[in-house]
């Protein structure tokens, strides 16, 4: 157990000091903050225009924002998790295993009484703590900014939903971390180890959902899930490829947790797909052989 903790702590320390994850982290937290500011400005402008219009007697309709759930303002974060969060997860995953291969430190680790699965598992736990820390920071920013926008502290129910959303985001990022770790272990070059998971991510995010929904790729950047096409080849494609649309499933489940029921689908199915992705990749990671870990890079 102590060996496991040492591995996890070492990974946490190393990842925290890598430059690329630091840059991506700054971008991610910056986007979450910017999203909050934009939400606040939108609310302020619309409410101010509405107040003047209402005072002038030009409308009797209620303020459009008065019927909106406070969690509406966290909606765009779904996209930031899918775009920047997943990239961040891939980068930290790749660097975690490539670092040891480049520095030949796997030999030092494996010449001690340490099982490959135990060491790789410890590294993963370190990264999961690191990502959990980032998501906790983002959750705090969202909670504070939503409170500022709506002018009151978020209710306990909404706070739990917001935390549930970030827990879901953590689960969504897990397969990308593991994918990065795996390509870091199996690629012969560092560039390939980054390229393969990024291509995989773009296929899961854009190509697979597009084949089942006939949506324009830009529409897939919408936090609301794309609607499956009815009839013809697209319906068939959706039937076959639907379970592989990891990012769309994350949108479905997030929509349910945040209370955006538009296109929320079956949240349990979405959760099951996310868990299935995570478990399958975990099995591959934890059965990695010593020879694979020790394999040299071609550079």
């Amino acid at each position: 157990m102590k060996i496991f903790a040492a591995g996890a702590y070492q990974e946490l320390l190393s990842s925290r000091r890598e430059r690329m994850p630091q840059i991506l982290l700054a971008v991610f937290v910056g986007m979450v903050t910017a999203s909050s500011v934009i939400g606040w400005l939108t609310n302020q402008v619309v409410t101010s225009v509405y107040d003047r219009t209402y005072a002038a007697g030009l409308t009797t309709q209620p303020n459009p924002f008065s019927a909106v759930s406070p969690l509406y303002y966290a909606k765009n974060t779904v996209i930031y998790i899918i775009l920047i969060g997943a990239l961040l997860a891939i980068v930290v995953g790749v660097q975690s295993t490539i670092r040891d291969r480049k520095a030949h430190t796997f030999d030092l680790v494996l010449s001690r009484p340490v099982r490959p699965a135990s060491y790789l598992g410890a590294k993963l736990v370190g990264l999961l703590f690191w990502v959990a820390g980032i998501l906790a920071l983002s959750a705090a920013i969202s909670w504070t900014s939503i409170g500022a926008i709506v002018g009151s502290v978020l209710s306990p129910g909404d706070t739990i939903r917001l935390l549930g959303f970030y827990a879901l985001a953590w689960l969504f990022l897990l397969p990308f971390i593991v994918l990065g770790m795996l390509t870091g272990l199996y690629s012969r070059r560092e560039t390939t180890s980054l390229l393969v998971p990024i291509v995989t991510w773009s296929v899961l995010t854009f190509v697979v959902p597009q084949l089942g929904t006939a949506e324009h790729p830009v529409s897939l950047l919408n936090p609301v899930p794309a609607i499956a096409s009815q009839g013809g080849v697209f319906q068939l494609a959706n039937l076959v490829l639907g379970p592989l649309s990891l990012t769309e499933h994350f949108k479905h489940a997030s929509g349910y947790v945040l209370g955006n029921t538009v296109g929320a689908g079956n949240p349990l199915l979405s959760l099951a797909v996310m868990v299935a992705f995570a478990v399958s990749l975990l099995v591959v990671l934890l059965t990695t052989q010593r020879d694979r870990m020790r394999s040299p890079l071609d550079e």
Binding site: L13, A103, T105, D107, V109, L110, S111, R112
Partner: protein, 245 residues
């Protein structure tokens, strides 16, 4: 007490169809400094990788202080220290952070006192909070030795320990190896190209050629067995050139 520290019996390893080590029969006594010599690709690193349990033999077996490298692998790992060639460590961690990590992997619960002791033994104090990315090759090699002896191993494996070091670094490392052997009675098994180092450090040698051990004896016996050769370098080239046994 088991007088034999390292014993291999028909130890072999192949990478696919290519045999890297063929039927190695070797014996190193406790307290010896053994130098394994051979050209590039002769199988020296494969031999060390097998003895440090990093790879499994395709045939044969070996014991370290009576422990089988296959059936008692974890116990062997607790007994040995290892410094691979060209290890870089974690550059963005400090010296202390690196050593704490490896100490904990070796099972040390509160390693700081032991780390301090080892760094003082290596005359390498005052760098605790410096990151390893700022260290020279010679400094990194000291870190390598430090991590390999933190858990007081009885047998130490060094793979080309002087590779890339300047003459001062080579001299410092030689003193460290000799001190480890004299003060702690550590058995040391090292692969090397530097025959001058072997002359000044090793008590016995072995020569590998294309995966086969073609010579093994004590250094003193080797130097007297070849009276016509002026140096160990000449003896080594003579052994390398003679027909297979």
């Amino acid at each position: 007490m088991n007088d034999t520290a390292i014993k291999t019996t028909e130890l072999s390893h192949s990478y696919g169809p290519k045999a890297a080590l063929v039927g190695l029969n070797l014996s190193v006594r406790e307290g010896e400094i053994f130098g394994l010599l051979g050209h590039n690709g002769a199988g020296k690193t494969t031999a060390v990788s097998l003895l440090t349990t990093l790879i499994a033999p395709t045939k044969g077996t070996a014991t370290i202080l009576g422990l089988d490298i296959h059936t008692d692998a974890d116990e062997v790992r607790r007994t040995i220290g290892y410094l691979p060639e060209n290890v870089q460590f974690y550059g963005n961690l400090t010296l202390l952070e690196n050593l704490r990590f490896f100490a904990r992997l070796s099972g040390l619960q509160k390693p700081d006192a032991r780390i301090r002791e080892v760094l003082e033994f290596l005359d390498f104090t005052g760098h605790d909070s410096e990151r390893l990315e700022t260290f020279s090759k010679g400094m990194r090699q000291r870190v390598g030795i430090a991590q390999s002896i933190l858990h007081n191993p009885k047998v130490l494996f060094l793979d080309e320990p002087t590779s890339g070091l300047d003459p001062q670094g080579v001299r410092n490392l030689r003193e460290i190896i000799l001190n480890l052997n004299r003060h702690f009675g550590m058995t040391i098994f090292m692969n090397t190209h530097l025959l001058s180092e072997v002359t000044q450090t090793c008590t016995s040698i072995g020569v590998l050629r294309e995966g086969e051990l073609v010579y093994q004896d004590s250094l003193a016996a080797t130097l007297t067995a070849f009276p016509d050769e002026a140096s160990l370098e000449d003896i080594y080239l003579h052994i390398e050139a003679r027909p297979g046994q």
